[in-house]
Amino acid sequence: MLRKEQNDLLTQTGPNTPGGRLFRSYWIPALLARELPEKDCPPVRVKLLSERLIAFRDSEGRLGLMDEFCAHRGVSLWFGRNEEGGLRCPYHGWKYDHTGQCVEVPSEPVESGFCKKIKLKSYPLIERGGVLWTYMGPADKQPPLPEWEFALVPDAQRFVSKRVQESNWLQAMEGGIDSSHVSFLHRGELNTDPLFKGAKANQYNLRDSRPVFEVVESAGGLYIGARRDADEGNYYWRITQWVMPSFTMIPPRGNHPVHGHFWIPIDDENCWTWSFDYHPTRPLTDEQIKAMEDGKGIHVKYVPGTFRPLANKDNDYLIDRAAQKAGRTYSGVEGIGMQDASLQESMGPIVDRTRENLVSTDNGIIMARHKLLRAVKALMQNDVAPPGVDIAHQRVRSAAVVLPPNRPFIEAAKEALTVQDGTAHASV
């Protein structure tokens, strides 16, 4: 459980909140690059950390992310004309460049210089790894550009998607570090999903539904090791990476691509679930990309033309009780992504953590909250940059390994838990 004031601290991420300041310490994913596919394409409305913004790519290809509303009379610039190096409000023709600087106010004499006095709040927006990233903190604290491995591999080796999740970011993220649910909620998919099936280690998951956990602090967050019995007295370890504030990398299965998530607050009751798959040494196959586009693995099918999942709370996630009864799915909801999201959204927009009853196997979640609270405190009181800002903290990998019973995973898998250029993940 958390006290109410602790829960508020971690779940509120709007401007001028402690949790908001934490998120504003990092480069965070804002849009898929394909949402702004070309120069002068239509602008896109973006809400991040409870701030309404507009993103656009101008005539020279420069990316802009700024206050959504025209400084004149508050019109949404989503209706704007993206042309000739800026975004023009269609109401009275005020025009803004990619930094939010007003460059034209047609009603005022050019000589008056009035437009120079008008500037919308804006944030840097950069493209890396098929994702447009922004940093929403103070300019003098801007960290180096993100160096997550998935974002640095060639485009053909990566697939990235995002979906709206109708819950606070923290309960979504906590699902990502709760390894013990896999043997229940996702057990139907381990041997059927094309992005999971066929791995030798799946049998260990299915055979041993009571994993034992070890949680170890890392420089950027946590290693969460789940141990199951393997063959010949050895242990099968699945080691998840959590890097603050909301990055997780799930341990690989066989030679399948490796996947993970970011959970980024839209506002306090909604978040973006970003999902990536990549392979460090080879292109993804056409079959794998097709499967991801079809909503397999950790990706989802969408309501056409949106990033809202096709199975959503308005249609009870298309629950199929017959499939649940027959054991084809454990919860009746299809797909790993929506199996998670449906349960996390069912908790309510912001789960009341004063009423929960955690158990020993929830120590990964308990430790993550502890580290988040500690980081917020250090940031607010002493202006200490939180873990995960340092790019060394981002050069991490998850791993799946079989080890003798007397070998600590943190020692035996040390190399496997950091990026090794030109080599694949340690996997079983």
């Binding site: 459980m1 709370k313 929830d362 120590n363 943190i410 020692e411």
Partner: protein, 168 residues
Amino acid sequence: MPSESTRATSAAEAVFRIAAPNARPRATKVVALDRPSVAVVGRLARSPRPNTSFLTIPTEAPAGDGAFSVSGWLRDLAGHAKNLADEIAGADQVVMIATAGENAEAASIIGEACSVRRITTTGLILAGPSTPDEALSRTLSHMRPWALMLVVASGEEYIEDMLTALRA
């Protein structure tokens, strides 16, 4: 599903959650396995936790002929002898605290007793940034067979948060 009177989730629906308690208090035993951990447990015991007992184990060699008995083996923080079986008989969870590099072999005695009674055990190892890998490995190897969950934490303030989270 027209017969259902509520739909999935919304902030408005959330206010109708039943406010009655959904769990009874849990009895927790926190056991320090080595001398440095005794000081940690002593500090933890200053916070009011009515359903939690704080215990230590003797770190000196057994007196007399050296024969070991779990009867009266544990101590409370005032130094009174406590019987292991009695202590864990009413426990819902047992938390064992060790310091990396220290001898944590006592975990096997407590762990085995808990295992027989199907009581959940959590192992918590305090390891500073300069703790050598081999010191941590040694303590881990003592505790691993006997803890359903093992946590390696860099600071003792984590234990306080963990106990609160576990409603200890």
